[in-house]
């Protein structure tokens, strides 16, 4: 019996103690008509060896391709210690640190993660992670409405330069709260929020403005000016940021006058593998004045009965297990394991290593754009500074091209024709520090051959 330790003697002795004759008698409160005797549709058991062989075959089938997609999930080198440590049983098999004295490891790692995110974003406080970047942005919108009492509109400006899937997720998660998520178009030349279009909202009751930096196209928004506009119009600023870029870019806490109010994003680039989409690790940080409106777990440092430093969950009265229907969110968990991986990864990189990673990402993307746009029929969609992604425009549909590239072992980018049909045949590409000049050359050569 896999993972069940009972001997026949155990079962007999335990049933005796309970005072019944068979295990089935323990289910006697369940109406007999409801009971099922056999589970159709579930295959018979496999041994560990058999399931390992099956899984290995399937993983091999998926293989390993040269990846040039970002679009919210980024391939970075993951230092070997990260998962060697994160899968230690004391971390992997622990639960939410409700018994603080027996969970100081988890709690201190939460505190360290919060400190790292607060430091990277230059915000006052961070929570101990949310599900992913998309849901973190949705939660940030809900939080902004709670935090901005004077604004009555519950209206959030959601520029089209924000990740379109994140926008959709924000729409789904906030639907029951009757928020208005209004779009702001982008400047077709530079691929950033259209300042003139934004001006039209001047003087209106806007609860918050979302600024993604770098934006979905990889372009750098003028976060300074946008934040000043928000301040002048009494709107909060929600920053959606790529955490690797923060090694180089002005952090949200220092944008404009006084900085952003809420910063969120996905910390997947820190130690979390691509893994077909998850589990990743959303983060959220804010100014101290909004901390009680922030969802998600928070660890705090305090002292024990002897005056010794220790860590505990704090501000729990915001959460569903106490506030029930009035909680800041229905969220019960954080992404503990992934948060741990991110913390260890950041500890290993430090400020210098992270800056090197970020710089090399930007440099490699520059090389990638140069190589691909040197080909006939390929050009960059936008001008202006960017980080580690770029939009290319092709003369022909990119979908068949991507399929052909995949056949050659190259995952060539993300097709934008559905989300941005006005770009024509747009392709979003990304190169991180893991793409070498040889990888880039191979991509360019293969593409040249296929077009």
């Amino acid at each position: 019996m896999p993972y069940i330790p009972h001997t026949a003697e155990d079962v007999r002795a335990m049933l005796d103690r309970i005072g019944v004759d068979a295990i089935d008698s323990l289910f006697d409160e369940i109406p007999p008509a409801l009971r099922v005797e056999e589970l159709a549709g579930v295959p018979a058991a496999l041994t560990e060896m058999e399931v390992s062989r099956l899984a290995a075959g399937r993983a091999d089938q998926d293989g390993r391709r040269l990846n040039f997609i970002g679009a919210g999930a980024y391939e970075h080198h993951i230092p070997a210690p990260v998962w060697a440590l994160a899968t230690r049983g004391e971390i992997y098999s622990a639960y939410t640190p409700y018994q603080a004295e027996a969970s100081q490891g988890t709690l201190q790692m939460m505190y360290e993660f919060q400190s790292m995110i607060a430091g990277l974003t230059a915000m006052d406080v961070s929570n101990a992670s949310l599900y992913d970047g998309a849901s973190a942005l949705a939660e940030a919108c809900l939080m902004a409405v709670r935090a901005h009492r004077r604004s009555k509109s519950a209206r959030i400006l959601m520029p089209t330069t924000v990740n379109p899937v994140w926008r959709r997720v924000a729409g789904v998660i906030t639907e029951g709260q009757e928020l208005a998520l209004d779009t702001v178009p982008y400047d077709p030349a530079r691929g950033v929020i259209d300042a003139a279009a934004l001006e039209r909202f001047q003087g209106q009751d806007i609860t918050a403005i979302v600024i993604q930096q770098p934006n979905y196209f990889g372009q750098l928004e003028d976060a300074e000016a946008l934040t000043r506009f928000a301040r002048a119009n009494g709107a909060l600023v929600i920053a959606a940021v790529n955490p690797v870029s923060l090694a180089l870019l002005t952090p949200p806490g220092e944008w404009g006058e006084g900085g952003a109010d809420i910063a969120c994003g996905d910390a997947q680039p820190f130690g979390v593998p691509l893994s077909s989409g998850g589990p990743y690790v959303g983060f959220m940080a804010c100014r101290m004045e909004h901390v009680r409106q922030m969802p998600g777990r928070i660890a705090g440092r305090t002292v024990d009965g002897d005056g010794k430093n220790g860590y505990t969950l704090t501000l729990q009265a915001r959460e569903q297990h106490i506030r029930r229907g009035k909680a800041t969110s229905n969220i019960c968990t954080n992404q503990g394991l992934l948060m741990t991986a991110a913390t260890i990864h950041l500890a290993l990189l430090g400020p210098v290593g992270l800056e090197r990673v970020a710089s090399l990402c930007a440099a490699r993307t520059r090389e990638l754009v140069a190589s691909l746009t040197a080909l006939p029929g390929v050009r960059a969609a936008f001008t202006g500074p960017r980080f580690h992604e770029a939009v290319l425009r092709f003369e022909r549909p990119v979908a068949p091209l991507l399929e052909a590239l995949a056949e050659e072992g190259i995952v060539g980018g993300h097709d934008l024709s559905r989300d941005y049909p006005e770009l024509g045949h747009g392709l979003l590409v990304c190169a991180t520090e893991t793409r070498t000049p040889a990888d880039i050359e191979l991509y360019a050569r293969t593409l040249a051959r296929l077009t």
């Binding site: 009492r149 009680r292 729990q316 009265a317 915001r318 106490i322 506030r323 009035k326």
Partner: protein, 129 residues
């Protein structure tokens, strides 16, 4: 035993009301309420100018393990919230009927309409617990 001053009116949801000489009223939570909540760590008070109906949530008090809404015993307009509670929520634990007041309001009804007097409230918490 909890303290229940004779000169105040009370609600079943553990708020007290004091009528001030100028006809405005002061609202807080009872000694019994602060004892059952434990050490308070946060109090959210209403802004001046807010108009409340009787029974509206007007403040939130939080301890480490519980959060509780404070309901306005009467309708009216908020004159002031107790700003000191922002940095010193413990005032409610230390002095629930004095420095721990939560808000002052210009009531639209009379304090005498608040259902319980001291004896009534004492009987209420005796049966409740």
């Amino acid at each position: 035993m909890s303290d229940i001053p004779d000169d105040l009116r009370y609600t079943k949801s553990h708020e007290w009301v004091r009528t001030l000489p100028d006809g405005t009223i002061e609202i807080g939570i009872t000694d019994h309420a602060q004892q059952s909540l434990g050490d308070l760590v946060f109090v959210e008070v209403p802004e001046a100018g807010r108009v409340l109906a009787a029974g509206d949530g007007c403040a939130v008090v939080e301890s480490v393990k519980a959060a509780s809404d404070v309901y306005s015993p009467l309708g009216g307009e908020v004159i002031a919230g107790n700003a000191q509670l922002a940095s010193q929520p413990e005032l409610i634990n230390q002095d629930p009927y004095g420095q721990g007041w939560i808000l002052r309001m210009k009531p639209s009804g009379r304090a005498a309409d608040v259902p319980l007097d001291a004896a009534g409230y004492a009987a209420e918490i005796a049966t409740g617990s």
